[in-house]
């Protein structure tokens, strides 16, 4: 089954279910956090930045939920390569939105610093007590920070089990999010001590985090669209998987030489194996049977290998396809 629908092996299916639950938890949790922040936002720039970015970090999770609905659909006449790349599509949108919003916030907060606009933060009446609104902002930020921190921590092991770049990036994003909320708390407290620039400076810092996140994701998605060879989770370094497959194929006694090229398709890895068979009087029926076997074996090497094409060729140059 290498051209049909992609299926997860049983031990990974559990991780995938967990991923879906985490995505839902992210949407709900981050929305709650954003509501808490929005209800206390007042005139603080850092708070404004924090609640919008809270809502934004829920977008990739929502996109992931949608993408996962399509991911496992079998190939159709319109999409003969299947729907695995729906994950990349969801991520492209998210990455662009993140970057642009980050740039806008940076501009906005820098302008406030340049013009010296001072944030007025007055009082709120809570359970009959009149307290400075800064404290309720700090409380809302701490609440949202806890959510982001927990989500980030929970996502990391699942992302590693599935070798899931979208989830890994989300985990990193949650981390950037809670750290920036920590910065916002510092900003509000600075305002409390009469340092009016603390608020806008914290907002600028948060925007930088958002931009960095967005840019990282954009790079990753573009590399995916450019059919980059599989890379290690969260790194630019190439994976050893193509080399491993090539070595395995070359071990077969009837294979004289082999070359491999691969690309990531969502959570799966697709690619081509070129091999030079030792024909030794092998007939066409025997050759096709053995080529099919190679295709089946690929799945045994790594569960992510899917839609691998095996092509017999008469000769291969040493750098065809280029090896890492």
């Amino acid at each position: 089954m290498s051209r049909g629908a992609f299926t997860y092996p049983p031990e990974k299916a559990e991780a995938r279910r967990k991923m879906k639950r985490l995505a839902w938890a992210s949407v709900v949790g981050l929305t709650l956090g954003a509501i808490a922040l929005a209800s206390t936002v007042g005139a603080s720039q850092a708070m404004k930045t924090a609640w919008v970015s809270d809502l934004l970090t829920a977008v990739p999770a929502a996109a992931l939920i949608v993408a996962m609905r399509y991911e496992l659909r079998p190939p159709s006449p319109h999409f003969p390569f299947g729907y695995l790349r729906s994950l990349s599509v969801a991520f492209l949108v998210t990455a662009c939105v993140l970057t642009m919003v980050g740039l806008y916030f940076l501009y906005d907060s820098l302008m406030k610093l340049v013009h010296g606009e001072r944030p007025p933060i007055g009082t709120v009446v809570l359970f009959g007590h009149q307290i400075w609104a800064g404290w309720t902002m700090v409380a809302a930020l701490a609440f949202s920070l806890t959510i982001g921190f927990t989500l980030g921590k929970l996502k990391m092991p699942v992302a590693e089990a599935l070798h899931s770049k979208p989830l890994f990036a989300e985990s990193r994003m949650n981390r950037a999010e809670w750290m920036s909320e920590g910065a916002a708390i510092v900003g509000i407290v600075l305002v409390g001590f009469g340092h009016w620039w603390g608020d806008a400076a914290a907002a600028a810092f948060i925007s930088l985090e958002i931009i960095r996140d967005g840019w990282d994701n954009v790079r990753q998605v573009i590399a995916d669209l450019m059919d980059e060879s599989p890379t290690k989770l969260g790194e630019h370094a190439l994976e050893g998987l193509p080399r491993l497959v090539r070595a395995e194929v070359k071990k077969l006694p009837w294979v004289a030489d082999a070359g491999v090229r691969m690309r990531e398709q969502g959570h799966a890895v697709a690619g081509q194996i070129f091999l030079v068979p030792r024909l030794d009087g092998m007939n066409a029926a025997e050759l096709t049977r053995r080529l099919d076997e190679v295709r089946e074996c690929a799945r045994a090497i790594d569960w992510r290998l899917h839609d691998v094409t095996v092509t017999p060729v008469s000769a291969l140059a040493s750098d065809d396809p280029p090896q890492a």
Binding site: G122, T123, V125, Q130, W132, V191, G192, F193
Partner: protein, 177 residues
């Protein structure tokens, strides 16, 4: 002392500490409150009867009374500046004034440039003299310089706590009408 009691006691200590910190903060970025206390309070007023009236170079009316009460509570002397709303609020934004009164309402477009207090009075039967003369709520506020959060918190507390003063000031509104 049981565990439960101790926990309650601990919670009280933490609450008291939090309150102590909360009382010291926020501070002003320009030290307005400290300067006004026992000093002078620079107040700008634009006439808007019955909220602000002109009584020989000083503000009268509802908000004039509030300002005087505020000054009394801080042992401060008031220096009055009479002017138009826009010039007063610009001066306020540049921290050349400490307070501006002028029958301002919470939905004024100036709210982005100066700090409005929480409404001290909500007028539900206000008639807006617009094309559609409809009735709607009008939230009356005072204007403070932005970023002087210690000062802002002081004024908002004053407005909430001095209900008697506010009531007599609002009652006097009928006389000035």
């Amino acid at each position: 002392m049981s565990h439960r009691n101790r926990r309650v006691a601990n919670a009280r200590v933490i609450f008291a500490l939090a309150l102590a910190v909360a009382c010291g903060l926020p501070r002003d970025s320009d030290g307005t409150l400290d300067r006004i206390r026992g000093g002078t309070m620079r107040v700008g007023f634009a006439v808007d009867t019955p909220w602000v009236t002109d009584s020989s170079g000083m503000a009268g009316g509802v908000e004039g009374r509030i300002v005087n009460g505020l000054a009394r509570s801080l042992g401060a002397r008031v220096t009055w500046t009479h002017g138009h709303e826009s010039e007063l609020l610009t001066a306020l934004h540049d921290r050349e004034l400490d307070l501006v009164v002028g029958g301002l309402s919470a939905d004024s477009p100036w709210k982005k440039h100066v700090a409005f207090t929480k409404p001290y009075h909500v007028d539900s039967g206000h008639v807006v003299r617009s094309l559609k003369a409809k009735r709607r709520e009008e939230k009356h506020v005072l204007a403070l310089p932005p970023g002087e959060n210690g000062w802002l918190v002081y004024v908002e507390r004053f407005l909430r706590e001095e209900r008697a003063l506010l009531a007599s000031a609002l009652a006097a509104r009928e006389e000035t009408r």
